[in-house]
Symmetry: C2
Subunit: 217 residues, 2 copies
DNA sequence: GACGTAATTAACCGGCGGGTTCATTATCGC
DNA sequence: GCGATAATGAACCCGCCGGTTAATTACGTC
């Protein structure tokens, strides 16, 4: 990091430049979507130039795809850190819901990239190959919880791990993605700390209730 | 409606032209977002010209705002047709969830417009004045159901109508908005008729369970 | 130090698309 | 019919922005 005083030993560092561009591009694409983002705006916020953006990433769409892929990888890596193995199934499920809720909330740029990608019909994401396994891993976690719950006699027999994941995602995602319009329509009382705590708790509670064989437990 | 006595011939019909533009513009903005939509593309699909689009709506952003406002008005009008007054509270709530789920699913263009608007931070919607009342009406429906449920001894005392609406919206909205990426990540099994029926039923069931004082009922 | 390659800079280009100009036609009130 | 105004058509303008050209500088290798 620190430079040698005598010889200006400032090393060229392509990887850092690349990472710098990616970082800024993620923010810009997340804020503005694909078309509204200007490569020059990205360049201006990096230490390098517009020419270099094209030099490293080819064209705008490839940069966007690189951003999307990096964002997915980062978020999935964050998810993988959650360890639920040693929890009883009901507590594991509750913790998974709370974690997902918090995790989405902490990564609004990722959420916005997914929104953008959905507007585009997923056409860029469909070209990303490697994420199939990562995603199935997410489902497998839920399936293990469900199975453990069934074996413990706690959970219903007929729950679908995929549909469960869908519901957990729906609430966690919507909470970030639709904040602007929801707050404009109904006020922002649900988006301060107290409101968010309420939503988080009710999400966890309703998910849990819905899988329990005996909801009174 | 159809007859116009000798004055006002069929030839020039500004209102129809305007409606034609709005209709096409809604589809284009919903499919492509604001920046990616080309006014010329809209014009080409109408019976009129690009020149007329500007003549009637001023500029692109005003057209977008007009589309958004019209879409909101139409969807809210559709919601207002639901009558739950004569149902017991638990059935009313279930029906409201199912209706919302179906209604969102039947109006993907509206959903996509709201997605686009959220990407833009709601900056255009914040200029729409009249929708505050419409939205409060939606909450009031839920509040009446909750109150009736409490009075009947069926529902918990501590449920928030707004948080309940948030959860119903979250699932109904996400089901449409994130279909592309969800299907790419986890397959499209949840989006055929059978999968959708499952999601709809589980959404209703989990909402209902979460408000009941005695969930075994 | 010399050579080849990787990284960088400055200046440029071209077409796409939002918005306009100006001339023309239809419609209405009288 | 006549004048005023609303509605329409064809062609045009121009600035923005994605992408490029060409020349220059740093760097690894011998």
């Amino acid at each position: 990091m620190e430079d040698q005083p005598k010889s200006r030993r400032w090393k060229q560092n392509p990887e850092a430049v690349r990472a710098d561009i990616l970082r800024v591009a993620q923010e810009e694409f997340a804020r503005n979507g694909l078309s509204r983002t200007r490569i020059e705006d990205i360049a201006d916020r990096t230490k390098t130039s517009k020419r270099m953006v094209f030099y490293y990433f080819g064209d705008k769409e490839s940069l966007y795809k690189a951003v999307l892929e990096a964002a997915y990888a980062e978020v999935r890596a964050g998810e993988a850190e959650l360890d639920l193995e040693d929890l009883p199934p009901d507590q594991a499920l509750r913790r998974l819901v709370e974690f997902t809720f918090d995790h989405h909330r902490a990564n609004p740029d990722f959420i916005r990239l997914v929104m953008v990608e959905n507007i585009h019909g997923g056409s860029h994401m469909s070209q990303m190959e490697q994420l199939a396994q990562q995603n199935l891993a997410a489902i497998r976690v839920l399936e293990r919880i469900c199975e453990a719950g069934r074996e413990a006699g706690l959970f219903r027999e007929d729950i679908s791990a995929l549909a469960l994941h869908w519901r957990i995602s729906a609430m966690s995602f919507f909470n970030v993605s639709n904040r602007a319009t929801f707050a404009l329509n109904f006020g922002d009382s649900l988006f301060d700390e107290k409101g968010q705590a309420l939503l988080r708790e009710e999400a966890a509670r309703s998910i849990l209730l819905s899988v329990l064989k005996d909801p009174t437990g």
